[in-house]
C-alpha cells in the first residue's frame, strides 16, 4: 500500500501548493511531502532489501501493473532522497530571487509533478505505461528548465523537449515491437517486465533485437549517451540549480533504469549482444565526455558533462558483465545520485555568491565566500572520484570487476578516461577556488560581490541541504550499511534473473 501512497503524496502536494497562501506555504508543503515520501520509500526499500517483492494486488485489474523489486526500490529511494534535499535547497534558493508569488507557485507545482512522474517510473511494471511516465518527466520538467525565461533558458528547454520527445517516439516504436515479440512468442500473459523475461527465450530474435536497439537509442537520448547527448549540457546548466540536481542527479538515472530493465530480458534470449552494445556505447560516452570536460567554460556545464561521463560508466559496467560488475553499477548509481545532487547544490551556492556561470571570471572563490568555495572543492573532488568518497569506491569496484572478467582493453580505456575526467574537473575547480586573479579588467562586472565585507548570506535551508547531501557522499565512501548492501544485492539479482 505504501507504494501507492508514495505516488499519491506529490500529487496531494501539487494540489495543496495551488492554494493561494503566503510564499513559505508552497516551499513548506513541498519539503514536508517529499520528506514523507522519503520515509515511505525507505520502508519499501527495506522490505525489498529483505528479498520481498512488493506487489500491489488489489482487486482492480490494472493495479497488477504496480510492482516493486530490489532494483525499483533502489531507484525509488534515491529519487525520494534527491527530491527531499532539492526541496530543502529550493526553499532558500528560490526565495533569493524575489519572485512573484504566482511564479513561485508555478515552480512548486511543476516541481511536485516532476517528482511524481519520476517516482512512477520504477513503480510501474508495464513497459508502455513506463514509457508514458518517461514522457511526462520531460514535459513536467520542460517549464522548469525554461523557468528563468532568458533566451538561453528557452533555447535549452526547446532543445530538451524536441530531442527527448524525438527519442521517445523511437522508444515508443521499440516498446510496441517488444509487445509484438511477446505476442509472437505465444505468451498470453500481461505485458510486464517479469513476464517479458519468461517469454524471452521463445521470442523471434529479430523483433527482440530491434526493440532493444530502438529503446536503447530512444531512451538513451534522454539519458545523454554520447551521439545523442547534445541537449543535456544546455538543459542541465540553464535550469535553476535545485532543478539541475534533480535532472542530473536522478532523472538521467531513472531513465537508465528503464534501459537496464531490458538486460535480463536480453540475457534470457539466446545469443543476444546486449552487453556488447552497452560496452561500446558506454565507452564512447565516457571518452567523449572526458575530453569535453577539459575545455568547458561554464561550471554548470562542467557538472552536466560529468553526468554524461557517469552514465557512460554505469553502462560500461553493465557491458563488462552484469553478473560480475552489476553490483558496481548499482553502487555507481547510488554514488552518482548523491554526489551529483550535492555538486549542483554547490553550484547554486556559487551562483548566489558570484552571479556568473563563467569559469574564467571566477578566481579565488575561497577568499570571497568560504562556504561556496569549500562546497565546490568538496563536490569537485567527490564527483571526480577522489578517495575516500562514494564515487571512488564504486568506480574502483567496477574496474576491479572488469579486470576479473579479463576485459583488459575496455577496463584500461575506462580507467584512462576516468583519470582524464578527474584532471579536467579538478583543473577548473582548482582555478576557480584557489586561483589568483590575473587581469582585473577582464572580469570586472560580475565581481561586485568580491568587495571585502560584502559576504554572501547563505539561507539556512541551503546550508542544511548542503550538509544533508554531503553526509552520504562521505559515508558511502568507506562504509556501506548492511541494509544498503542487501538492497544493492537484490537490485543486482533483479538484473541477472
Amino acid at each position: 500500500m505504501s507504494v501507492l501512497i508514495v505516488l499519491l503524496l506529490p500529487l496531494i502536494a501539487t494540489a495543496l501548493v495551488c492554494l493561494p497562501f503566503k510564499k513559505p506555504w508552497a516551499a513548506g508543503v513541498t519539503v514536508v511531502s517529499s520528506l514523507a515520501t522519503l520515509i515511505l520509500a525507505a520502508r519499501v526499500a527495506w522490505l525489498a532489501s529483505n528479498g520481498n517483492s512488493v506487489t500491489v494486488d488489489l482487486s482492480l485489474g490494472w493495479l497488477k501493473w504496480v510492482a516493486v523489486d530490489g532494483l525499483s526500490a533502489l531507484i525509488l529511494v534515491l529519487i525520494a532522497f534527491v527530491a527531499t534535499t532539492a526541496a530543502i535547497f529550493s526553499a532558500g534558493y528560490m526565495a533569493h530571487g524575489n519572485l512573484k508569488p504566482g511564479k513561485l507557485r508555478l515552480y512548486y507545482i511543476n516541481y511536485n509533478l516532476f517528482v511524481f512522474s519520476m517516482l512512477a517510473i520504477p513503480v510501474l511494471a508495464e513497459p508502455t505505461l513506463v514509457w508514458i511516465v518517461v514522457e511526462l518527466t520531460t514535459l513536467c520538467s520542460a517549464l522548469l528548465v525554461s523557468f528563468e525565461n532568458t533566451r538561453e533558458a528557452l533555447e535549452a528547454a526547446w532543445k530538451y523537449v524536441v530531442l527527448s520527445l524525438m527519442g521517445a517516439g523511437m522508444a515508443l516504436f521499440g516498446f510496441l515491437v517488444l509487445f509484438a515479440a511477446m505476442q509472437a512468442s505465444g505468451s498470453n500473459d500481461a505485458y510486464t517486465w517479469n513476464n517479458l523475461i519468461t517469454a524471452a527465450p521463445t521470442m523471434p530474435p529479430v523483433l527482440l533485437q530491434t526493440a532493444f536497439l530502438l529503446i536503447l537509442i530512444g531512451l538513451g537520448t534522454k539519458v545523454g549517451f554520447v551521439p545523442m547527448h547534445t541537449w543535456l549540457p544546455d538543459a542541465h546548466s540553464q535550469a535553476p540549480s535545485p532543478i539541475c540536481a534533480l535532472l542530473s542527479g536522478i532523472e538521467t538515472t531513472s531513465i537508465l533504469y528503464v534501459i537496464l530493465r531490458l538486460f535480463p530480458v536480453m540475457q534470457a534470449a539466446p545469443n543476444s549482444h546486449a552487453e556488447t552494445w552497452a560496452l561500446v556505447l558506454g565507452l564512447i560516452s565516457v571518452g567523449t565526455a572526458a575530453f569535453l570536460l577539459l575545455q568547458v567554460k561554464d561550471y554548470k556545464r562542467m557538472f552536466a558533462f560529468s553526468t554524461v561521463e557517469h552514465m557512460g560508466i554505469i553502462l560500461t559496467a553493465v557491458g563488462l558483465g552484469i553478473s560480475v560488475a552489476g553490483y558496481g553499477a548499482m553502487q555507481q548509481i547510488v554514488s552518482h545520485c548523491v554526489t551529483k545532487s550535492f555538486c549542483f547544490f554547490a553550484t547554486g551556492t556559487v551562483l548566489l555568491a558570484v552571479e556568473t556561470r563563467q569559469i574564467a571570471s571566477i578566481r579565488g572563490l575561497i577568499r570571497q565566500s568560504p562556504i561556496a568555495g569549500a562546497a565546490l572543492v568538496f563536490g569537485g573532488l567527490a564527483i571526480a572520484g577522489a578517495p575516500p568518497m562514494a564515487v571512488f569506491l564504486s568506480e574502483f569496484t567496477i574496474l576491479k570487476a572488469g579486470l576479473t572478467q579479463k576485459h583488459y582493453v575496455a577496463t584500461g580505456l575506462l580507467a584512462i578516461f576516468i583519470v582524464i575526467a578527474f584532471f579536467g574537473i579538478m583543473l577548473h575547480v582548482n582555478r576557480m577556488v584557489f586561483g589568483a586573479r590575473e587581469n582585473e579588467s577582464g572580469a570586472e562586472s560580475p565581481n561586485n560581490h568580491s568587495e571585502p565585507g560584502n559576504k554572501l548570506h547563505l539561507p539556512f535551508s541551503c546550508r542544511l541541504a548542503l550538509v544533508l547531501a554531503a553526509v552520504p557522499v562521505l559515508v558511502l565512501g568507506f562504509y556501506i550499511p548492511q541494509s544498503l548492501h542487501d538492497l544493492l544485492t537484490q537490485a543486482t539479482a533483479a538484473l541477472t534473473k
Binding site: L154, F179, L207, K297
Partner: protein
Amino acid sequence: MSDTTNQLLVNLNALVTGLFLLTGFGIVAMRQARGCLNLFIVQSLLLAASAVFLGLRYTSDHLYGVALVNIISKPIIVPWLLRKTSPSEIYTRREVDQGLNIPTALLIALALAILAYFLAQPLLNSVAPEFRGPNVPIGIAGLLLGAFTLTVRREAVPLLIGLLAMENGAFLCGIAIARNLPLLVELAIATDGLIIVFIMGVLTRAVQKQIGTTAVGELASLKEATVEPAEKEGTE
C-alpha cells in the same frame, strides 16, 4: 465475414495507409504552418480509418477504441489547445528559410521511405501472417519522415507536428503488430500527446514574448565555444 469483404477491407486499408505516407511527405514540404497542421489532422484521420478497417477485418473491438481516441484527440483537441496556448501569429508564419530546399528535402524523404521498406522486411518475416500488411513499412516511414521534419524545420508549429507525426507513425505500426495493447494504455498515450501540445504551446509563447519570433530553430547561442552568450547575440 466473406472472403470478398475481407479482401475489400485489406485493399481499403492499403489505400488509407498509402495516403498516410503521402501526408507524411506533405508535412516535410509544406511551408505554411496552418497547412502543416491540416495535413497532420488528415493524417490522424487516416490512422483512425486504418484502425477501423483492421478492426473490421480481424473483429477487434479494441481497435475501434483506438480510432475513437484518435478522432477525438488529434483533429479536435490539438488545434484547440494550440490556439489557447500559443500566439495566433504562428498560423500565418511562412517558413522562408528552411534548412534544406523543398526538392532536396523531398528527395531525402523518398530515400527514407524506401529505407523504411527494407527495414520492415526482417520484422515482417518474423511475425504471424495476419500481422503483415502495409502498416509496418509505412509506419516506419512515418516515424522516419517525422524525425526528418524535426531536423529540417525551424518554425515551432512544424516542429511540433513533426513530433506528433512520429508518434502517428509508431501507432500505425502499433495497430497492426501490437493489436491487443490495453485500451487504457492507448488513452494514456493520447493524453500524453495533448500534454506535449500544451507544453510546447506554452514554450512557443514564451519564446515569442522573449525573442519576438517563433522560429525556434534560430536559437543557437548555447555552444561549447561561446564564452559570452550575450556577445554572440550582437554579432548575429
